[in-house]
Structures are given as structure tokens and as C-alpha cells.
């Protein structure tokens, strides 16, 4: 177990370092320079060169890289080329927005998906087929299209909720909650579909296992066979997919935040990409990678807790 955790931890650290290295090299491989971005359009070559010199762009690559790593260890991600704000502070404000959307969407997907998937596997027949087919379609729908339709139906037609915008939790919890409902619903459509398919396949596989026949031969009540033994058996794949889902939703937030005008990480990523704000871009990638890595670590722990084969290995 200890070796398992150590291995996972080293992989996590390696992944974050790889993300830093890849984005760092990517920025330096491009034709643009931070000086040109900072000096703005219409700047002369001399102005750009002066800016690059000030930013340390002309130093050897390894010096810049280790300099960056040194700052990173102090949680310093540098300042934006566009408006000079602290990137770490900015992303620190944005992370909770994206994290809460991804978390709520994952939880909603989990509840709806497991209910649908288990129903499909246990009930079978027409209902099962309907759920499986419906999930197959739902997971193929583009999230931004679903989002626009959700806005049209719930915000414009029924006028239930605000269409876009974000209210911080600290200023008005109810308005905060309302501002999250539509984005979370939008993301949960595809998420629930994937979970439903995983849960249905897992339950079907579980119910076909030899040990389920042993339980039947022991006269175990059917509800116990299904909802204790088979459900537990299928929990490992479902939890694994849930973790992947959370990470995917984190990525999907770029589009959702654009659609619903939410000040999250994804929006920062989009704006930095559009304005070629290199340090901000690297910062967004690093923060997102850290989130992914931490979620994966937690996921490994949950799987270990669920699966005795991993736990006792």
C-alpha cells in the first residue's frame, strides 16, 4: 500500500513538472515574444527588444526555466503581460468558480447516471434499451449546443433562472446557487450519460459473475444481490469514470464559462490564448494540471478503499 502511494505520488509530481516543461518549451518554440505582446500592437522593434530584455527573455533557456521553477515553488506565477496583475492571485480567485461547477456537475452526473444505469441493467427490456440508447445520444451532444438550448428553455422561455453571469457566494448565496444551476445542468447531461453507460455495463457484468450465482444458490434476497453485491462490484469502474469525468468537466468548463460568462479558469485560458498572454497561459495550464493530478490521487485512494485487491496488495 505504501509503495503504491509512493508510486502514485512520484507520478503526480512528474506530471506537474512535465506540464511546466511542455508549456515552457511551447512558448519558447513559438515565433511570438512576450515583449511584443507587452509592448502592444504598433510598437517599434526597439521597444519590443527592450521589453524582452526586461522580461529576461534573452537569457539562456535553462536559466529562465529554473528561474520560473524557483518562483513556482513560492507560488509565484508571475504577472500578466496585458494588465500586470498577479497571475497567482487572479487564478486563485477563479479556481473556486470552475471547481464548484465541475464538482456539482460531477455529483449530479453521478446520482442521475448511477440511477439510470442501474435501472437499465436491472430492469432490462424496453426501458433498459431506451436508457442505453438515450445515453448514447446524450453523450455525443456538443455541450455548448446543449447549453444554449438549456438557456433558451429555462431562462428565456420559462424565465426560471438567470441566463448568464456569476454572483460570488460571499455576496449572495442564493444568487450564487442560481447562477450555477444552468452551467451545472448543461455539463451534467453528457456526464450523466457516460456514467449511466458505465454503471449499466458494470451492473450487467456484475450480475453475470459466478459469485452472484453462489449468492442465488444461498437463497440471498434479490434486492441484496443487486444493491449490495452487484452494485459494490460495479462501483470501481463507476468511480474511475467519475474521476475522469471531473477532469473532463474541468476542461469542458472553458466553453461553459464562455457561454455563461462565468469568471473561472477556462475563461482565463480563453482570454490569455486570445491575447497571447504567455505567463498567464502557463499559469492556467499548471493550475489545471495540479487539479487533475490531485483528483487522480484522491481517485486512486477511493479505488483502493473500494477494491480489496488494490488495498491488500
Amino acid at each position: 500500500m505504501l509503495a503504491y502511494v509512493a508510486k502514485r505520488l512520484s507520478l503526480a509530481v512528474g506530471t506537474v513538472l512535465a506540464a511546466v516543461l511542455i508549456t515552457f518549451l511551447l512558448v519558447h518554440a513559438g515565433s511570438g515574444t512576450p515583449g511584443a505582446v507587452k509592448a502592444g500592437p504598433g510598437a517599434t522593434a526597439a521597444e519590443i527588444a527592450a521589453q524582452n530584455e526586461a522580461l529576461g527573455w534573452n537569457q539562456p533557456l535553462y536559466v529562465q526555466f529554473f528561474d520560473y521553477l524557483g518562483h513556482l515553488f513560492r507560488f509565484d506565477l508571475g504577472t500578466s503581460l496585458i494588465d500586470g496583475r498577479s497571475i497567482a492571485a487572479d487564478l486563485g480567485d477563479r479556481l473556486p468558480v470552475t471547481a464548484s461547477i465541475a464538482l456539482f456537475a460531477t455529483l449530479l452526473s453521478a446520482v442521475v447516471g448511477v440511477l439510470l444505469g442501474v435501472t437499465a441493467a436491472v430492469r432490462g427490456g424496453r426501458l433498459g434499451k431506451l436508457i442505453t440508447t438515450g445515453a448514447g445520444v446524450a453523450l455525443s451532444l456538443p455541450a455548448f449546443w446543449v447549453g444554449v438550448i438549456v438557456v433558451y428553455l429555462l431562462a428565456i422561455k420559462l424565465e426560471l433562472l438567470p441566463a448568464t453571469g456569476y454572483v460570488p457566494f460571499s455576496s449572495d448565496p442564493t444568487a450564487w446557487f442560481n447562477s450555477l444551476v444552468l452551467p451545472v445542468l448543461t455539463l451534467a447531461v453528457g456526464g450523466a450519460a457516460i456514467i449511466a453507460r458505465t454503471a449499466a455495463a458494470g451492473m450487467r457484468e456484475a450480475l453475470g459473475q459466478e459469485h452472484i450465482r453462489t449468492l442465488r444458490a444461498m437463497g440471498t434476497p434479490e434486492w441484496r444481490i443487486r444493491y449490495v453485491h452487484a452494485l459494490r462490484f460495479s462501483s470501481v469502474p463507476v468511480v474511475s469514470v467519475l474521476g475522469i469525468q471531473f477532469i473532463a468537466l474541468f476542461g469542458g468548463s472553458v466553453i461553459i464559462e464562455n457561454l455563461f460568462a462565468l469568471p473561472g479558469l477556462g475563461q482565463a485560458g480563453q482570454q490569455s490564448a486570445a491575447s497571447h498572454d504567455f505567463p498567464a497561459l502557463i499559469g492556467v495550464v499548471i493550475v489545471a494540471t495540479v487539479v487533475v493530478v490531485v483528483v487522480n490521487l484522491l481517485l486512486d485512494l477511493v479505488v483502493a478503499a473500494l477494491d480489496p485487491k488494490v488495498r491488500t496488495a
Binding site: 512535465a18 450487467r204 449468492l215 475522469i244 477532469i247 477556462g266 486570445a274 497571447h276 495550464v285
Partner: protein
Amino acid sequence: MSVLPLDAADEVATEPVPPARRRGVPGFLRRPGGVFGAAWLVFIIVASLTAPLWRPYEVTEQDTANRLALPSADHWFGTDPLGRDLLSRIFTAGSLPLLSSALMLVVAFGIGLPLALLAAERGRKVERVTSRSTEVLMALPGTILLLAVIGVIGNRLYPVMAILGVLISAAVYRVMLGVAQSVRQRLYIDAARVNGLGSLRVNLLHVLPSMATVVAVQAAQLFGIGLLIVAGLAFLGFGPGEPEPSWGFMIQDASGHLFDAPWLLVPTGVVLALTVVAANELADAIAGKKADKVPARRKERLPVAVADTAPADPSAVLEVRDLSVAVDDGPQLVTGVSFALRPGTVLGLVGESGCGKTMTARSLMGLLPDGVSVSGGSIRWQGRELVGLSEKELTAVRGREIAMISQEPMVALDPMFSIAYQLVGPIRRFRGVGRGAARKIAAELLRNVGIVDAERVLKSYPHQLSGGMAQRVCIALALTGEPELLIADEPTTALDVTVQAEILSLLRALVHDTGLSVVIVSHDLGVVADICDDVAVMYAGAVVESGTAAAVLDDPSHPYTMALLGANPHVPEGEPVPLRLASIPGTVPPPGSWPTGCRFASRCQFARDECTAPFPALPAHGSGSVLCIRVDDLASTHATWDAEPVGAETVADAVAEPAPTAGVS
């Protein structure tokens, strides 16, 4: 863009599929989803690539009088806020996402596939390096990283998608490595190597074709994801700029006109969604996933006409008469099986694979597989008819009166729960005791089945036990309800020879000490001779000979029993070892192809013309029976099943039962 490439890797089956050599329509086109997927993809690709040739309007042509128009004869899909024709724009916009997703696929498979083949071939060291690097690559947040790429190189979608292909190649590698490794483990790859084929040729001729299906499935899924990503990027404004049309931006455009022209949302969204759905449906169809492969609800068994209810043998605790088991709307698996079990004795059901032994045994508890049911006859248990009981009534019998142990102890226990949990539950249910008392009983049961360190085993999980230990736990589990009948389906087949003897002596001790009755299913005549009081020899779904074990084994009347005995390599002590073991030519005919008359006739040394006519079972061995029309001829001539001069080397086939094949055993 809401879907990372990661989960595609998880949905693909990693089972390699042997290269198909069938001609005609590929399998996936026989499924409705596959037909739809393939047809729509072909249509959208052709229509998009040829759009400049047939589109009714130029993409920038503005019909200012008809802004935001609904569909009409002039504009089939309507018009956008500038009065441009949606049909022309949608199909013109298609070629970029379709082609750039294809480029992404080429890059992803171009890197991932050779890497997987290489890692599978070169073994642990190479595999470890590549696998670790791809794990890191897969843990990176793909979508966000893509934004960074765009921030550096700009809105150039082809290079951006090629870089996405590099990121996705990690997922391709992971799936393909699993397939390549299991293909390589197959013997014919080794054979090809021995035959001197070069590494490249082995990969091209043998490994790759076996991976074709998995490649196709993953490619179709990733294609759909690629489309979503291109459209998502365009939605964010990272696509071809106005006035060039793009799916994502057209939906972005539509989201700004929800109040005045909600229709605008429909055509582009539907075309994009249909294309992604088509890719996924195609993937599912190629993978052979059937949406309708949903097991039907366990339905209540139909009441079966019970023939004659008067017990023929009042001393029998279990009496089976004329039992037939059949696939619903399909062939018979077991016909006219009759036997009786006296209390405190052991009855053996013997025969080769596919003779219906296991089906007969499982029908005793109403535990037949889905789609198989008792089609006639009677099973009387302690004077009560079990055939036709509802699932609920049978549940009350199972475990409490009749228990079962199965062939493979290692998979018979729930891998997710500790042994203690699995024993305590039934003990509390059957004996109505508290948790603490149940745990004490569990430990005692384990000690009764010969487990010395019961406390340690109670804390263990099934995967921590050896096969013999697991079978002991299974027997203890079966005893939790203090049943009077134990059905043991090949209880020793999966175990080592030394352990087999221990388990058999444990069963014998249980019968002796507790008065348990046992029905044991076995293909091993040694087991039968060792433990059984009575025996019923089954062949092709029927009992061909029954009686006391001593009578049947010492003085077999049916040629099949003689043949089984002749083919048995175990020789009783003191008797001379035969020079050559006998063999039975041919194999058991599968259900549905049984001949009329004697089903063994085609493999029988003594078959005559009269054997092909139907005939009844004759009494033999006291209370037993024999199903052979020539039984008197054979007895009078003292016929024995002789070792055949040729083909004796097939003897192993006759008795050694391989892993049970699908369905009937």
C-alpha cells in the same frame, strides 16, 4: 469539447478479435446503429467536401431581404443574421472539422500504434518507459493545453489538431498496448516467429489484423471527440474567422439571437450532433455492443405439467422423474432423466462434457441460466414438488434446505467482501442470531471444514486464498443454512490432485457425521468410485445407466459406461495396468442434433441397425436402469470395450474435461 480523449480509452474493449475471414457484409452493418452511423458519415463527408460544387448560394452571399428567415423553398435551412443561406454555410463548414479530425486520428494512431507494437514486442524495459511517459501525457489537461498551443501558434486549426493528435496518442497507445500484448501471447504468433518471419512481417501479417476491430472502434470514437473539439474551439472564436463559416461559430452566433430567432440554433446543432452521434454509433456497432443485449428480467417460471405425483420410492429424500430441460423455444438439453437419492447417501452424475450433468444439477435448485428452463417431469424434494415453484418459494428452499458448491471456488466468492462478511450474513439470516454469535459460528464452521487458522481466513478476501482453501470456505458457506442436500458441481475439478483428495474426504466426513445427502457432478470415475453410493451415467442429456456405484462400476451394462471405464487411466491397486487405454471415437453430439434411438450409437463399438429405433430404459442393478437395446446380447457374450488399435492416443479427450463450453455441460 466536454469530453476528454481519456474516457474513450476506457470504453473500448481491449479484447483482441481474431482477423475475420468472412466475406460479404461486415458485421457492424447488420446493426441499425452501424448502418445509420456509416451512412450519415459517408453522406456528411461527401456532401461537405463537394459543397463548393452544389451549394445553392455562395457562403458570403447576403439576401438582405431575408434575414433570420425560417426554412423556405429558397433557403431550405433558413438564413443567418446577415441573410446568408444556412444550408450552404453548414455544409461548406463541414470540411474543416472533418478533415482536421481525420488529421488528428492519423497523428494519434501514427504515434500510438507503432509505439504499442514496439512496447509489446520488446518487453518490460521498453514498455515501462513508454507506459510511464504516456501516463504523464494522459494526466495533462488536454483542452487547457490546447488553448496554450493556440495562444502560441494562433488559430491555425490543422497544426492545432495535429498537436492534439500527439496528446491523444497516449490514449491510443494505452488501449493498443493491451490488445497487442494479448495478441502476442497467442501461440500462433510464436509459431510465426519460429517459422522465421521478421518482426515487421509478424506485426503486419498477424498482430495488426487482430487489432483491426479495436482500432476501428477507437478511431470512430476519437473522430467524434475531434469534431466536438474543433467545433468547441470555433465556438470560442478560435476557428476560421468571419465570413468563413464554421459550425462552432454559427452556434455562437445563434446564441446571440435566442430572443428573435431561436430557429437559428437548430440546423447547425443538429448536423453537428448527428455527425458525432453517427461516429459513436458506428463505434458501438463495430465493437459489437448491442443496446438490446440487456438480460431480460428473471421471469417467473411457467408451471409445468407434473406427470405422476406418487413417489415410487418412499425412502428417497429426492426423487427426479422424467426431468426435461430445454432452451426456451430451442433444443432440449436434458430429456427423461430419473434418479432417486436416499437420505445420507451420495449420488454421482457422471459423463463427458455436454451431457447435461450440470443442467440437471442446477435444475434441482431452479438455478438454470436465463433462457433455459425445466420443460417437463418432476423433482420431488422431501415429498414436495419443486418444479413449477415460484422464484420466491425456491429462494426459501435455497441455502436452507438445498445448498450448492461449484466448480470454481476462486470465483464463487464475492471478491469485494471479506470471508467474515460473506459467512456472517447468511448465518444471521438462516439462524436468526446476532452479529457476534454469527461470527463465532462462522469460525466454527471454518474449523469444521478443516481450516486451522479460522480467524485469519475470516479476515481475508477471496483473492488471498488458495483454491483448496476457497473450496473449503465455499463448503462452509453452503453449510451455514444447515441444508439437508448438497449439490456439488465438479467440486474438485479446478483443484490440484492432492487438494482434490482432501476435499473429497471432507465431503465424505460431512456425509458420515451430519447425515447430509449429496448429489455430486463429475466426469471423473475415480471421484465416483471414491465417494458415491449410487451413480447415474449421463450421455447426451439422458441417463444411460444407473444403480449402486459398486454394481455400475464393477459390472457395467451400457457400452458407454464400459467405454468410460476402459478410458479411465486410474487403475485400482493390485490390478494390472493395461497396455493401452481404450478410447471413444468422436464427440458428444450437441443438443438439437441427437439421433432418434440410441444417442450413443454413432460412437458405439456394438451398434447395430436396431439401435436407431426408440426403446425404453430397462431395469438393471436392482433399483437402477440401463438404456441399451442390446444389453442382454452384450451381457450374454461378456462384451468388453476394447482399446482400438489406432487412435488410442485420443484417450485423453474421452475423460479429461476441458473448461466447460458455453451453455451446456
